[in-house]
Homo-oligomer: 334 residues x 2
């Protein structure tokens, strides 16, 4: 048992050294892995991967291997696999959402067409499992099974998200379920996959999975806040986009938790919103307490995540590193 | 060693009893498996699966288990998995090709939108691996690895197909490589997967894989012939569609194998083709021998497939059943 300081959400943080180190290991391994894909896919794959990314999920896999007492490199194949699954979801989600920019570059479908983006994503998710199964040790097979379950949960979250567009309201519970699928499942898998590959005890794997799942919810809640009140320069997305698209995010679900709130949101979302409307709506939502309530919820899930670390049989150093990643990914300036 | 009668391509055949029997086992198991998918995907999944299908790939998995001396039911999980991968490819390919009809019904993207079709395909391919890995015996893990390799080869074939649209010519070798990926890889996997699940010897698995791969090429060659000279009522596709889309299929690659041929095709594909042009082009291609050459090639690959059966250590009954499936799927009236 290790005590982990549970602090409030940070205002601004630089990336922990562990993530920078993880990236220097994972990026070349990922580049090497995708060289196996068909040469006709190379241009789209390169374009997408050159956009960079923070390697948070891959980094968590390495830290998780370390937390289980193994060399971090033991988790490398899992780190590459999880980054492939993450990139599969980004490439497909960009088509689904019609997003033309990511990481300040054109998205794969916008640059190479929908067809190429579909098969690029397909190739990523398939390669992830190929990598894990080509040396089918007990640990790798278990890792492949966990990763596949997480992928399916992520797809379910995406399906729920799309279905929510046709609905007037989501309850906070429905919204949390959807966001746990979309973000929590893969982060939970990431945080436990290294431990699985290192042959850790089930209790350790489970504690790390709990940490990752709640970190995912906290992360997504902050993302929802930034989607309404964020700064375009930092987020790389148009300000107020989620409001313009009438997205049923957590702040909206929380604002809808009273009959008065439902009426307000119903009126707000009854028509197209101009840029001025979006600004006014963001101000009103803040006055109604939606921003505050979402931040409180994020903080609660961050604390559950950190508590799971305190309860895990891992070294103080591993717990501190995982806590640092948790604070970094939930910092408000992402 | 079992002698298998090697006959020429059949004019018309009814489905072998083995496939009808396989379908009666696989269809309910597949319906049961997809019930695990998120309820928000249920409508699209049901719409797609209700279109039916011949269950050739799943049927081959069961026959392959039988050929290895096991109960056919031993292959059932593999049969469901391979049908899921096949349906994943159909749903995604229909988006890529912009096809609005399949099996005389609207395609998933045409009915539910591109986004829903993308995640429906994603859910299918992910579920396939989940099913195999949830009881991770040595055989099932090996089956999952083979299926993943085949899926990647199929994606590569699709990538090559899409890239060929931007090219003026494909050599016969390039075309065969693309079609071996698109069709041969999954049929090869299907024909050997049951044997893998039954724990057959590597030589038996490999012989069945060779049978499946060449059957795939023969099947695709016939498909290409039907794409130019087929009857819309039987194929369910508009007559001459491949010519209208300037598709680089085998008949075109074969017609291009001489400099004169290349000039002819270059002229033919230098502009949009009207319905009248398409008919005239089909007649010309036949005069130039492209249809005959493609049928000869199909027959050659069918014979290689049947020879692989003769060389495999499988029962005469299994060999006869697999040969019947080969004749059925390459019959000209499909």
């Amino acid at each position: 048992m290790t005590a982990v300081p549970t602090v409030a959400l940070s205002e601004r943080l630089t990336a922990p050294a562990s993530l920078a180190k993880a990236r220097s290991l994972i990026a070349p391994a990922l580049a090497e892995a995708v060289r196996r894909l068909d040469p006709e896919l190379a241009a789209a794959v390169r374009h997408h991967l050159e956009g960079g990314g923070k390697f948070v999920r891959g980094g968590l896999v390495l830290l998780s291997a370390g937390a289980a007492g193994a060399e971090e490199a033991r988790g490398l194949v899992g780190a590459v696999a999880i980054e492939l699954v993450h990139n599969f979801s980004l490439v497909h989600d960009d088509i689904i959402d019609g997003d033309i920019e990511r990481r300040h570059r054109s998205t794969v479908w916008a640059q190479f067409g929908v067809g190429n983006a579909i098969i690029t994503g397909d190739a990523f998710v398939t390669l992830a499992i190929q990598l894990l199964l080509e040396e089918p040790t007990v640990e790798r097979v278990q890792a492949a099974a966990r990763l596949t379950e997480a992928t399916q949960a992520m797809i379910a979250g995406q399906a729920q998200d799309m279905a929510s567009e046709r609905r007037r309201f989501l309850s906070v519970e429905e919204c949390l379920r959807m966001e746990t699928g979309k973000t929590g499942a893969l982060l939970s898998c990431a945080a436990s996959l290294g431990a699985v590959l290192a042959g850790a005890r089930p209790a350790t794997v489970e504690a790390l999975a709990v940490y990752g799942r709640h970190l995912g919810v906290a992360f997504q809640a902050i993302d929802d806040v930034l989607g309404i009140w964020g700064d375009a320069a930092t987020t790389g997305k148009p300000v107020g986009n989620d409001l313009r698209l009438h997205k049923k995010t957590l702040p909206i679900a929380l604002a809808c938790s009273s009959p008065t709130g439902r009426d307000r949101i119903s009126t707000l979302f009854s028509r197209e919103l101009s840029d001025g409307d979006v600004e006014a709506a963001a101000r009103m939502l803040e006055e109604w307490g939606a921003r505050e309530a979402t931040m409180t919820l994020a903080e609660r899930h961050l604390h559950i995540a950190l508590d799971a670390l305190s309860g895990a049989e891992i070294s103080a150093r591993a717990a501190a590193e995982l806590a640092a990643v948790a604070h970094y990914v939930t910092a408000r300036d992402r």
